[in-house]
């Protein structure tokens, strides 16, 4: 997500005068002038790059126990710059490995939610009538399911692990996007360009795909940028409860869980993954804020 944003921002620099400026580019251009959002973007990019390439560079295997160096506090001397955990595994390596899981779930679940949410909402809104009523009542029913209860049920059926978390989060998070997109679609479908498309003989699904969905992207981007931290936090929360990612796999949630248990004797085990999680969430929220300012038509 952040990488794509980066690319788009970069493009707007050069392509502006020649090929026409889309509203999307306009929005990203505005966002670029938002300092906090750009700082967030840089921090997030650093964390993403570290998680992506760090495990290849670090000399320690995140799952390799070293019984000579159990619970070493952070120090530059031994190479364990963030210390080790109580099984002697390098904490930095584990945090980066855990970050992969957390970020991956965050991005994947958000993409799933966006795809389902946009298609569902656009179809419900555009076709209206009975279709809309039935589709939106299904959303209401799903909305009424308590999240935690739903996750516990799913882990009982599918077993604990990333898959059940992904399914549980993905299955519930698209609801809000669907509602947002439906609302957008309702106001869009009476616009003249939709009428013009119908007058041009376009089929309903073509109109939804070609004309409705691109116009809902602005608000969806804003909401999705808020969704990524929500998902990461949700995953951490579930892993903390022991419902999510299982050992030896790590995520920021499981690391924080482990750290909390060793809080008295080895506080860095809680502080380090906590800092990474907090930095990521902060960055994402600043980016989301910047996106909202850039795409909210009222602020223009």
């Amino acid at each position: 997500m952040s990488d794509a944003a980066f690319e788009l921002i970069h493009e707007s620099d050069h392509g502006a005068t020649v090929a026409g400026r889309s509203k999307l580019k306009d929005g990203f251009g505005r966002m670029r002038r938002n300092k906090m959002a750009m700082v967030g973007l840089v921090v997030l990019a650093l964390i993403v790059l570290a998680c992506a390439f760090g495990p290849f560079v670090l000399p320690f295997d995140p799952n390799q126990s070293d019984f000579d160096s159990i619970s070493i506090p952070p120090a530059f001397a031994g190479g364990h710059i963030f210390g080790t955990d109580d099984l002697g595994r390098d904490l930095f390596a584990r945090v980066l490995e855990g970050g992969r899981t957390s970020l991956l779930i965050g991005v994947l679940a958000t993409i799933v939610a966006i795809v389902i949410g946009i298609s569902y909402g656009a179809v419900a809104g555009f076709f209206g009538g009975a279709v809309d009523t039935v589709m939106m009542r299904i959303v209401d029913v799903l909305y009424s399911l308590p999240f935690l209860f739903f996750v516990i049920m799913l882990t009982m059926v599918l077993g604990r692990g990333i898959e059940s978390i992904l399914i549980a989060i993905g299955a519930l998070l698209w609801l809000t996007i669907a509602v947002i997109v439906r609302g957008q679609t309702l106001s869009l479908k009476h616009k003249e360009f939709i009428e013009a498309a119908r007058a041009g003989g376009m089929k309903p699904f073509t109109i939804v795909r070609q004309h409705i969905i691109p116009n809902t992207i602005g608000p969806v981007i804003v909401y999705a940028s808020l969704l990524v931290p929500e998902v990461i936090l949700g995953e951490s929360f579930l892993s903390y409860l022991g419902l999510g990612v299982q050992e030896p796999q790590s995520s920021w949630g499981t690391l924080i869980d482990g750290g909390a248990q060793a809080m008295d004797t080895a506080p860095w085990q809680l502080i380090v993954p906590g800092l990474f999680l907090a930095a990521t969430l902060f960055s994402l929220n600043f980016i989301a804020d910047g996106l909202r300012d850039a795409f909210d038509p009222k602020d223009r």
Partner: protein
Amino acid sequence: MATTKIAERPAAGIRPSGTILEVNDLKVEFRTDSGKVAAVNGVSFALNAGEVVGIVGESGSGKSQILMTIMGLLAKNGSGSGSVKLRGQEILGMKDDELDKLRGASMSMIFQDPMTSLNPFLRVSTQLTEVLVKHRGMGQAEAMKRAIEMLDAVSIPDAAKRIRLYPHEFSGGMRQRVMISMALLCQPSILFADEPTTALDVTVQAQILDLMKDLSADLGTTVVLVTHDLGVVASLCDRVIVLYGGRIMESGPAEDLFANPKHPYTRGLLASTPRLDEQTHGELHTIPGQPPAVAKEALGCPFEPRCEFREPRCKTVRPVIQDDGSRTVACHVVSL
């Protein structure tokens, strides 16, 4: 204005006189919370190939709804009855699937506000080529070439570059040109224009109207122009239909009708049009009263409450349409 060759077929070959669209006793009703409301009450007319017809009337006279019904674009609570035949084929009540094959290909439409008729998120090229890809089965490259030709034809300078722009990078007049080129891409036999120049300023209006006239002549397209601007009708149309309260009050060749208006409503309309060559003594003529609320269906002539020549029978008896072959008028008081 149209200097580029835009017709695939020679214009001479597509100038058959003859009826291409026949509307018979068209009624349009809307279901509302307060019951059924009729917007159009039995309108009949025919369109000949290649002519430019103006439909004139004030707001709420049902002029736009006639177009929407023919195009199958009525709002969900609306329904049309009667008969609309395109080249002998009944299209009223046709399924959307089949209508989609005609819309854009045999008949197309230009809307009032060019600012909102183009999708703000898509490049103009995308919006132009999709029509050709759909109706003509053209490949992307071929469609692009044709779309650029068409933009050239509507006098958009530097069309090959401009086609890559987004709608908000065009001015209002330019966007209406784009709309016109989009509507004419597949060389439809009928072009419906719903107040195409209302949202534009006067100088641009004239250019757009000239352009439409030239293009329709080049392509042999029948143009139906819905407007409340009598000046536009006078300068552009071969034939005029005057609508009031969902009924045709008067129709006939434009020149004849403007020179010698019969129906009191037409006379009122013409008298209300400001003219440069006439002393108005400071005040503009108006037709007293309000246009009828659509809910109330009059027994007699819908214009009766505002008519200065009204007679008792106008309230109770609906006037018969007098037809002398070229002109029609529906009035008790005047005769052709």
